[in-house]
Amino acid sequence: MAKAEFDVPELQEYVDVPEVEEGTMAHVKSFVVTKPEHNTDLGFPGELVEDWHDKALEKLDDLRGRYRSLQVFLDACVKCGSCTDKCQYFLSTKDPKNMPVGRQDLLRKVYRRYFTFAGKYFPKLVGAEDLTRETLDDWYNYYHQCSQCRRCSVFCPYGIDTAEISMAAREILDSIGYGQKYCNEIIAKVHKIGNNLGLPGPAIENTLEGLEEDMVDDFGVEVKFPLDVKGAEVLLVTPSADFFVEPHVDGLIGYGKVFHEAGISWTMSTTASEAGNFGMFIGSYENMRRVALRVREAALELGVKRIVFGECGHAWRVAYAFLNTLAGPFDFLDPDYPVPQHICEFTDDLIKEGRLNLDKSQNDDMVLTFHDSCNVARATRMGDKPGGQFEIPRNVIKAVCNNYVDMHQDTIGEKTFCCGGGGGLLTDDLMETRVNGAVPRMTALQNAMNEKGVTHMAAICAICKSQFTKVLPYFGMEMDQIVSVHQLVGNALILTTQKSEGDDEEQENDD
């Protein structure tokens, strides 16, 4: 548990593309499932099966028949090298198996060996290799050093997405009982308790009651954080980290204030108390669907008309791009609103309608920048125009802050660098990978701090927020330099009946 058991890379002015250095990250192995139920609860064998070799190949064959992406991506790569310098994990670890194509080839060489003519008869010629125990371990180690951020897919001339390959590889590993503890334990908790953290209903209730008390103490206003309220207009599904840690909870407070001020009745749910869906990380359609169905069931049970998702990156991907597929159709909801909506879309609409009284100066102690979270940036949209996922959160921030600047163009928008902790890597046993993966983002942030005086970085992803909280200190920065977007909204939002600071005079109501 010593702080750094590895060399923490020093930030430079630029992130240079390094020369490859084989095997630098071969030793990094995330904890494997040791309690069989963490696998079996998800429908996988409890431990590595004896005939893993044949079972793994069977699964690969099955998957390439069910996912066109996998089949096409395994075939189409021409090894042009376009992706080789695009992955944050490669850029700072130099390990060529962390280059997107290097990572893909771990699976591709096995695919070629067993499923292609060239690989069956001329394996050496086309770089096909047998599936061995070493390969299997390489799969485990390196596919758990991919945050499935899709940065490589932006630059691939064929749109090959390493995330798809890494999801398939993890599903194969799971199917033979070689699961990762972090992801599988969490998915088991969601199935059993309803959220990633394993917060039982009473604990959530207790936490929310605490927040309501604070609202009264701080603003003299009864801002509610409703739980399991039937007949509410909106069901808010938010990452359970929003209940649990900072700065996430400040975002939750922000949502509460926005709902309160908008006068829209809302509720959260104890059973759907998690926006995240780690089923995606392990590539398991079945698990992803099971997790997603809780949202549908909660919405039906509570009789809401709209579903809004809180700040969470991969959750927004599952919500925006997959929810309709996994748990739709949502014809029982109000057709006037997209299903689901992102909290930023929700707030942005209210701001545009002028329904929020915002005092930007409340955030004057900060100069802000915005970290585009990978899944939001490259797998989803907000609003009705392409690229709305970049504009809407920025519009929200700019509406509540006076000081906003962007980081370098090549590190934001669709080219954004992952925080380094996405895709099921947000676990202490992968700290070396996480710290290394954060380097490009940290470099861009440091440059923005030095050149533009940035003090804080806002994000709309629970994983990003936790990852930065953890890794900022490795680079000599403060853990509280990362903030929630709705924390900023919450700061600036003046509640209609709010007592002004220092006195208890009642304020006039404007309408």
Partner: protein
């Protein structure tokens, strides 16, 4: 894996968390913290005890805000913040203190 406390062996998982919550004795916290070169004072014990009480009731560690609020109420407002907790438990009050208290590791997007 296991740790030795007062001649008795306690099973811990690969991350050093106690496997059976009911096994917990205060000595475990002392041994674990000694390995981290941390000496537990009363302030630490306040936190550890609170964690254990909260866990008994809610089957989960308290949220950071719940914890800081409780600390603030008990020890004064100036201590009711996460900075204070991090000063006590540098590797994160949630994870480190939970380990000493014999609670399972809180995992998720945190």
């Amino acid at each position: 894996m296991a740790i030795e406390v007062d001649g008795k062996s306690y099973e811990v998982d690969e991350e050093g968390y106690l496997v059976n919550l009911d096994d917990w004795v205060p000595g475990i916290a002392n041994v674990m913290s000694a390995e981290d070169d941390l000496e537990l004072g009363d302030e630490h014990w306040d936190i550890i005890n609170f964690l254990r009480e909260y866990y008994q009731e809610y089957q989960i560690a308290p949220a950071v805000r719940v914890l800081t609020k409780a600390v603030g109420k008990k020890l004064g407002k100036e201590k009711g913040n996460s900075k204070y907790l991090y000063a006590l438990f540098p590797y994160g009050p949630g994870k480190q203190a939970c380990r000493y208290a014999g609670l399972p590791k809180p995992t998720g997007c945190i």
